[in-house]
């Protein structure tokens, strides 16, 4: 059978200039223009470094994407994974023609529609219905298409009652619902979806994810799906691409790609969260997963010692009633367990503290987990809630469940007291 390649990305690169753009650009522009006139190559294309945001570079220019190559077959659902700054968004932007590549090409046999954000172009003064038309047209639908789907869209959004009211009177949730409803009824050959789309309350989130699943499963639609949520990638995608510092480091089967992603250095990065913009006063500064030698790690064996470390700043007013807690969620968004501790059991004066929370050994079963950390005064004040900041994974290293691969046996192994006696 012939493979039907619908999208082909060839040597795609994108260069960005760092720092203040504005002053001095005229000089660079002239330099570029001068070299073009003499028939030479753009002098600024030769320089540039790989895009690692944590390392200070010498060059003003960085490659957000460098020589990306991949092919997508018709009907494939491709996941694009990578940590923040790996180039995922840049790739999406180029795919959706929002910005052009510096070098390289993308060839496509179908129309690409992208959902980088819902509700683009919503005008607060116009009614829901008018906005559906406008937004649909912006996303590339014709008026007739929208007209034929209007009923479905309104129904899906659940905003029927407000459809002739200006959008400025909507609650933010309703706006998002309506916007997503429009986006979900797009009908392109290739759909590019950013995960952040799944917004709104949990009921609607389920609906949204379900719709995405429908889109990708039914009628052989080609989908590019960008996500941090490995579970979603695993359940939706047939193939995945791992990006790191602007280059493709892995391409292939979804499960292998997710494994690769979690095992590579990348995994250690997602096991360490630094609050880039902490409050002046009390706040969480860092969260990390540590192994028994206190090294940051995102990968543990079933019987390994796992420690969650939270670095936090405590102020005078927080000490007495403040508490810090966390929740562990599994891939299916189920909370596995949680734990909370009052600060005044440990702390007497203000300062920066490390709280180390050791998990009981041999309890969490092999799978991927996410950590949610909250710092608050119960029922009074939320200081900081951090969702999905950290992923870690427990490897199958000999729990007794390894024989039952693929069976949902829960997330925790409890040491039950068994006794089997003869009658």
């Amino acid at each position: 059978m012939e493979k039907d390649i619908i999208l082909k990305v060839e040597n795609l690169s994108k260069q960005y200039r760092l720092g203040l753009v504005g002053t001095g650009t005229l000089g660079h522009d002239l330099n570029r223009w001068w070299s073009r006139i003499r028939g030479k190559e753009d002098p600024y294309l030769k320089i540039g470094e790989s895009n690692d945001r944590s390392i200070k570079g010498d060059s003003e220019y960085v490659w957000a994407l460098k020589d990306i190559n991949f092919e997508v077959l018709r009907g494939e659902v491709v996941g694009i994974i990578g940590k923040n700054g790996a180039g995922k968004s840049t790739l999406l932007k180029i795919l959706s023609k929002v910005t052009g590549p510096t070098t390289g090409e993308i060839k496509t046999k179908g129309r690409i529609a992208s959902l980088l954000e819902v509700g683009t172009g919503f005008h607060p003064e116009m009614t829901g219905k008018e906005n559906v038309f406008l937004n649909g047209a912006i996303l590339g639908m014709t008026k007739r298409e929208i007209q034929s789907k209007l009923k479905e869209i309104v129904e899906f959004s659940g905003c029927e009652r407000y459809i002739d009211t200006p959008v400025k009177r909507y609650s933010s949730g309703m706006t998002v619902r309506l916007a997503f409803a429009v986006a979900a009824h797009l009908d392109p050959d290739i759909l590019v979806i950013d995960e952040v789309l799944a917004v709104g309350d949990s009921e609607f989130q389920k609906k949204a994810i379900g719709k995405m699943q429908d889109i990708s499963n039914s009628d052989g639609r080609t989908v590019l799906f960008v996500s941090h949520n490995m579970a979603a990638v695993k359940s939706l995608c047939t193939k995945a691409i791992v990006l790191q510092h602007g280059t493709t480091v892995f391409e292939g089967n979804t499960n292998d790609a997710v494994d690769f992603y979690l095992k590579s250095d990348v995994a250690n990065d997602i096991a360490h969260y630094v609050n880039d913009n902490p409050n002046e006063g009390a706040d969480i500064l860092e969260v990390s997963m540590r192994d028994k030698d206190n090294n940051i790690s995102g990968l543990f064996g079933f019987e390994d010692q796992i420690t969650l470390q939270v670095k936090l700043r405590v102020t005078e007013d927080i000490i007495e009633y403040g508490s810090i807690g966390f929740r562990i969620k599994d891939q299916n968004e189920r909370t596995v367990f949680s734990s909370v501790e009052d600060l005044n059991n440990f702390i007497e004066k203000e300062g920066v503290y490390f709280s180390n929370i050791k998990f009981p050994k041999s309890v969490l079963l092999p799978s991927e987990y996410r950590v949610i950390v909250g710092y608050h005064i119960p029922n009074k004040k939320k200081i900081r809630s951090l969702f999905d900041i950290i992923n870690f994974r427990i490897e199958e290293t000999g729990s007794m469940f390894h024989k039952y691969k693929g069976v949902d046996f829960g997330c925790v192994a409890l040491d039950c007291k068994w006794s089997i006696k003869s009658d």
């Binding site: 012939e2 493979k3 039907d4 390649i5 082909k8 960005y16 200039r17 753009v21 504005g22 650009t25 005229l26 932007k93 180029i94 795919l95 959706s96 023609k97 929002v98 910005t99 052009g100 590549p101 510096t102 070098t103 390289g104 090409e105 993308i106 060839k107 496509t108 046999k109 179908g110 129309r111 992208s114 980088l116 954000e117 683009t120 172009g121 005008h123 003064e125 116009m126 008018e130 038309f133 406008l134 047209a137 912006i138 996303l139 590339g140 639908m141 014709t142 008026k143 200006p166």
Partner: protein, 290 residues
């Protein structure tokens, strides 16, 4: 095996043709153009008491003030048998159309930054929608002009000499070039402002200065007579030709010749082409520079 005779629908690449205007694509997005125009027209005066009446008020009041100051106080003649108010209204209406096209399109990238950063559609749609929106406004204001025209002709004897000329059949062409001129200039400016924001300040007072050089509140002939040394500035301004021609067609006063019309058409087309080229260049990369 991979099929070698691939016929791609389109290619995204950094290579740019000088003029890369995809008419088929613009046609595909015609509904969006229409919806943008609709949005621009209906949202401007939402939650105002007078609503669309504002479309009338602005040119009327400006004309009244101009008549008081330039004609009654400064005694600028508007031609024998032509009411100065009508003379000014004609100038203002045309000038407004050009000005709104220019200022409206000149901030295309700035105003639509968030939209352009999220979805792709032919960016030209936005400046085009501005031109069409203003065409609607212009149409409404022309109605006002016609209203006053009828009043002056049938109910007073002040407009004895003013009568529509045969050249009036070229009025649509005149409007077309006026829009083209505003669009072209606007696209050039909007593209440049993404990188050099100084232009934004220039445009706000530059347009005002330009009005004084466009024969809006005086006849070109009077300017030539009073300031013959610098009259070429006004004479070569394509807007002067358009406004003078408009007044000639409708009121029978003004400087109108085929050669001047050709000149204006040429300038408009040239500016429009330059505009398209620069706009296309900017469109692909502006999101990185803005």
């Amino acid at each position: 095996m991979i099929n070698k005779n691939e016929n791609w629908l389109y290619t995204i690449s950094p290579k740019q043709k000088l003029i890369d205007i995809n008419l088929k694509e613009i046609w595909f997005y015609r509904d969006l153009l229409f919806l943008f125009v609709k949005r621009n027209v209906i949202t401007v005066y939402k939650q105002t008491i007078l609503g669309p009446l504002w479309y009338f008020i602005q040119p009327l009041f400006t004309s009244v003030i101009f008549t008081l100051i330039f004609n009654n106080m400064a005694n600028i003649p508007t031609g024998e048998g032509v009411p100065s108010f009508l003379f000014n209204l004609a100038g203002i209406t045309c000038w407004n159309y050009f000005k709104e096209c220019l200022t409206g399109t000149s901030d295309t990238f700035g105003q639509n930054q968030s939209l352009f950063g999220k979805v792709y559609f032919p960016r030209v749609i936005v400046p085009l929608s501005v031109v069409f929106t203003n065409l609607v406004k212009y149409g409404i204001q022309i109605l006002v002009f016609i209203g006053f025209y009828i009043y002056y002709v049938f109910f007073t004897d002040k407009a004895a000499q003013s009568s529509p000329q045969k050249a009036m059949i070229f009025l649509p062409l005149l409007i077309f070039f006026m829009g083209l001129l505003g669009l072209g200039l606007g696209m050039i400016i909007s593209s440049m402002t993404t990188k050099y924001r100084d232009l934004k300040f220039l445009i706000s007072f530059g347009v005002q200065l330009l009005m004084y050089g466009s024969a809006v509140m005086y006849p070109l002939s009077y300017f030539k007579q009073k300031l013959p040394n610098i009259s070429w500035v006004v004479e070569f301004n394509p807007m002067t030709t358009i406004i003078e021609a408009f007044r000639y067609m409708t009121l029978g006063v003004g400087d109108y010749s085929l050669s001047k019309m050709m000149y204006t058409a040429l300038v408009s087309i040239l500016l429009f082409l330059i505009g398209i080229i620069i706009f296309n260049k900017t469109e692909k990369s502006f999101i990185d520079t803005i």
